[in-house]
């Protein structure tokens, strides 16, 4: 089996998840993941796995910028400064997920961009040196960042859960 084919079979799911956690749209995440792999097949870089996630991160960033532009446009169109379309769009999306998912998503949102990036790259299976290269951190700083990111994610989630249980006494 071709090296790239093997990588595709083993990494496609991780790339979709990585992208999904950035764009929060399953279809879009798949589209972008396929774009990533098509570019991989065209370019055939030396370190394909790290390359794949670097490109995925770039595409997700472009996507986020485009989303901000769309939101600005939408805001102009609705002509209602009191209404933040981004919140509504986000809420619409969230309805589709189950409650826990929404809670984790929100918890993840409390992390800084760098902490999120390192955490998601780790979860996608990248090594410390690979994460360091992609984020520009020193390899030694990856552990520190991951330690902080993990703590903050769990803390934010638990805090939210606590608020929830106060709100709904019957909540399990």
């Amino acid at each position: 089996m071709d090296e790239l084919e093997k990588l595709y079979q083993t990494t496609y799911g991780a790339v979709v998840r990585f992208l999904y956690r950035k764009v929060w749209d399953a279809d879009r995440a798949e589209d972008l993941a396929q774009e990533v792999f098509m570019r991989l097949f065209q370019h055939r870089p030396e370190k394909p796995r790290a390359w794949v996630f670097a490109v995925a991160a770039n595409l997700a960033r472009d996507e986020a910028r485009a989303a901000i532009r769309r939101r600005k446009h939408l805001t102009l169109m609705t002509n209602d400064p009191g209404q933040a379309p981004s919140r509504i769009a986000a809420a619409d999306e969230i309805v589709e997920h189950d409650e826990q998912m929404a809670a984790v998503q929100e918890a993840l949102g409390t992390l800084t961009h760098r902490d999120q990036e390192v955490l998601l790259l780790w979860d996608a299976g990248l090594s410390y040196p690979e994460i360091a290269r992609q984020t520009g951190l020193a390899v030694g700083a990856v552990g520190t960042t991951l330690a902080r990111a993990r703590r903050r994610l769990v803390d934010a989630y638990d805090r939210q859960h606590l608020d929830d249980s106060r709100g709904h006494a019957a909540h399990s």
Binding site: V16, A29, E30, F41, V142
Partner: protein, 354 residues
Amino acid sequence: MIREAMRHIPEEELHAYLDQALSRTQCVEIESHLAACDRCRLERDAIASLRDRTTALLATLAPRRRIGPSFELLSERAAARSARRAGRLRAAAWAASVLLAIGIGWGARAIEFQGAGPAEAAPIAARSEDPAVEGPLRDSSAAGIELAAEAPAEPAVDRAAAPRSRSAPAPAPRQATGNAREAPPLASSPAGRPALSEPSATMTSSGQLPSESFNVATGTLFRTVSWDRARFERGESVPRIAGLPVVEVQLAGSRGDDSRPLMVVAQQLESGQVIRTIEGPATDVNQLLASQRPDASSPWPTIGDDGIAGADGAMAVRRGDRILAITAPLPSDSLRAMIRRLNASERQGGESGQ
């Protein structure tokens, strides 16, 4: 690093340890410390559970698992895209050489193309492209090349008369006309009429592109004008291929706005075949090109914004609202090879001071 039990293992090092991101030596140090230190063992367990919880939480953030496209499908799509890209690059290189050959009148943006031109054009011998050229067209291509490179008798006069600078005037009308007379008769050229010797404009109703079946679907009226008239109307920006005698210049009627009207400059290869350079407002050129290819099987594509298009018989490049096109009864490869050779000989001529 960890020499005594008094110094406990920092949190981030335990993370790195559990993430298997430490060297063998570091692991040994940590493990020997853990064996002796209850507090660090508890800390390690806490971090391990934090780590597991993080992984579990993130695991919820996944779209429903769907099966991606097969590797084969995706690589095919990638390959198709690479091929399209390569085609665009070839077209861009072609456009570069056309702009190099035609030179002036296409503004500053044409200049950025020129960088790509010479590299593409220079080392390629037309012979290497010959297999792509079929039958009689091979001859015509070669003839065009010889005309440019070898400069035989009559065109040599033209070439001598016309300095190689792109801003130079085209060959003198009389010489060009003489050349046209000696050449085999052209269906697309007014038979025997000295096209450029009459100073006054004559009206013709046809764009007279190389295709004999050209029809006037555009409804545009063309005037055949003299070279002087063309230069008077368009100054230095008469579109043409340097190094080839001009046999006819046609000018479309003004559209009533400020834009320069469409202009068709016919130039002749020694073989008698006519190459026409068309420059004008995008819509007009698109219409003209479309009307030139009446067969629906291979319609000329409409050239979009800043697009480049090429097919057998014609090539075009668009800049903003204007299009520059070249048509010739040659397959695109021959046309391209010919342009390359003209470029190369122009450069050679310039370098040797001929």
